[in-house]
Amino acid sequence: MDLKQTIVDRPSHINWRALVLPILVILGLEIGGHVLPLETEFWPVPSQIATAGWAALLNGSLLNATLETLTAATLGLLLGGSVGLAGGITLGLFPVANKLLTFSIEAVRPIPPTAIIPVALLVLGAGMTMEVSIVAFSAAWPILIFTRSAIQSVEPRLIEVSKVLCLGFFSRVWKIVLPAALPRIFVALRLAVAIALVVCVTVEVTANPIGLGYGMRVAQQALRPDLMFAYLVWIGVVGWSLNLLLTSLQKLLVWRQADEGR
């Protein structure tokens, strides 16, 4: 099966040619930084960034900050994700609920999560709770919207099959509707994870004294551009790993059905 081949090949084989450009850029920056008469105080060369990053990794501060950011992102995702999922399922299944609530949802949804920061700071104060709430707010919407549309677009024939088999309501949702909608709900989850990370770092950079974003802010204020860039690169690595994790998980879940059954 061609389709299956391409799907399976992608994650398991790293395309080494794709690494040529990044390596060239890093080498160029390193050599350029040493050779060209630039003011290097605020533009550290890659080796300096790596050294600072390595030091932060060894003294635990980098991992600690990562743990804080990921905790906030995970809790926020769990909270917002479950609310979004429950809401999306309800709205997708019951057109009446959907008609009742669509206007309200569309009125609240466009509020940028960053605009919630001052409100959350005032009401909840700085700390984990406030960050989790903002992540939850931002993650709930994509999950809700995608879940709703995923459920609305479940093959009508399958719903009829469940009816003629006389499946009860909860069995119908659990055995037919949710599995059929799962691939699209998973797309929403990937989107929400990316949003959660962005929101976490934004909250930390602007307001909250925890996590990777705060680490960047401190490094900047301490005039440690090497450390600041190290954090930046690290955030990229964290985001990339999360996406890789989710992509693999998605393949496991969604493409299980295309498996040859071996």
Partner: protein
């Protein structure tokens, strides 16, 4: 179970066929969507164990009749009696086989799991399911493919799987909506013969919608020809051809050719005035 009175009353009322008790009767049934009349005053009795084929040009409401019978639609006027009681919704002992098997199967469940769904719906305990599922897969020749997913099967096998799922409901009545229309000729003939076999083994009453006249004559005990716009019963054709029927010899029989001729003329007349 219907009382004897109800059943015999229904039989005398509409002059049911000589053999068997009436299991389904359409009584002055009409259906409109908005102001558009789809089915107009249908009166039809189906005997228990009968293989009834319904034919007619597109737009005559064949599938709509089936959906009403399945309880997926509600009539605008009149009613359908099933074992003497009005049909008010889907029933576990009335199975429906859809034409579009690709859409009607659960792609995330194996062949085994798809049949299992019918037993789960009937709340058969898990321990008893495996043997029943395998027996039904055996019946349609899919026992060796139990662990495959529907997308890995050919069209004919997918439709067999849907048949197995319907039979797992242990139905009294099987409603089939152009079940073999999307299959190639060879597969269609093979499935027609299997269906013939399954019908006689299971004793199910079968309501079979098709647009293939020869298929209707080959499979049916009786063929109902519908007229379109709005849909109504045009003619009934008794099929007095001995069983078991055979793909090679049955279509050569004079009775077959005669009926084929009559059905063809009926459709021709309907379509061209």
């Amino acid at each position: 179970m219907p009382s004897v009175d109800q059943a015999s009353e229904a039989m005398t009322a509409k002059g049911a066929r000589g053999h068997g008790e009436v299991i389904i009767s359409f009584e002055n049934l009409s259906l409109s969507f908005g102001s558009k009349l789809i089915l107009d005053n249908i009166n039809l009795d189906v005997a228990r164990g009968e293989f009834l084929c319904v034919i007619g040009p597109s737009g005559c409401g064949k599938t709509t009749m089936l959906r009403l019978l399945a309880g997926l639609l509600t009539p605008s006027a009149g009613q359908i009696l099933y074992q003497g009681l009005p049909v008010s919704g889907p029933r576990p002992d009335v199975a429906v086989l859809f034409q579009d098997y690709v859409k009607a199967l659960l792609p995330w469940r194996t062949v085994f799991g798809n049949v299992s769904l019918a037993l789960e719906a009937a709340q058969v305990p898990r321990k008893l399911r495996r043997d029943k599922i395998m027996a039904h897969l055996e019946l349609v020749g899919l026992a060796d493919h139990a662990e495959k997913y529907p997308t890995q099967l050919s069209g004919g096998m997918q439709q067999r799987l849907q048949i197995a799922r319907c039979l797992a409901q242990d139905p009294e009545v099987l409603l089939m909506d152009e079940p073999f229309g999307a299959l190639d000729a060879m597969t269609r003939q093979a499935l027609q013969d299997e269906m013939q076999e399954l019908a006689s083994v299971s004793g199910c009453t079968i309501f079979f919608v098709t647009h293939d006249l020869e298929e209707a004559v080959y499979l049916g005990d009786r063929v109902i020809g519908l007229l379109p716009h709005p849909g109504r019963v045009g003619r009934e054709f008794e099929v007095n051809i001995s069983r078991p029927r055979d793909q090679l010899t049955t279509p050569e029989k004079p009775e077959f050719l005669q009926l084929r001729h009559e059905l063809y003329s009926f459709i021709k007349l309907v379509e061209h005035g």
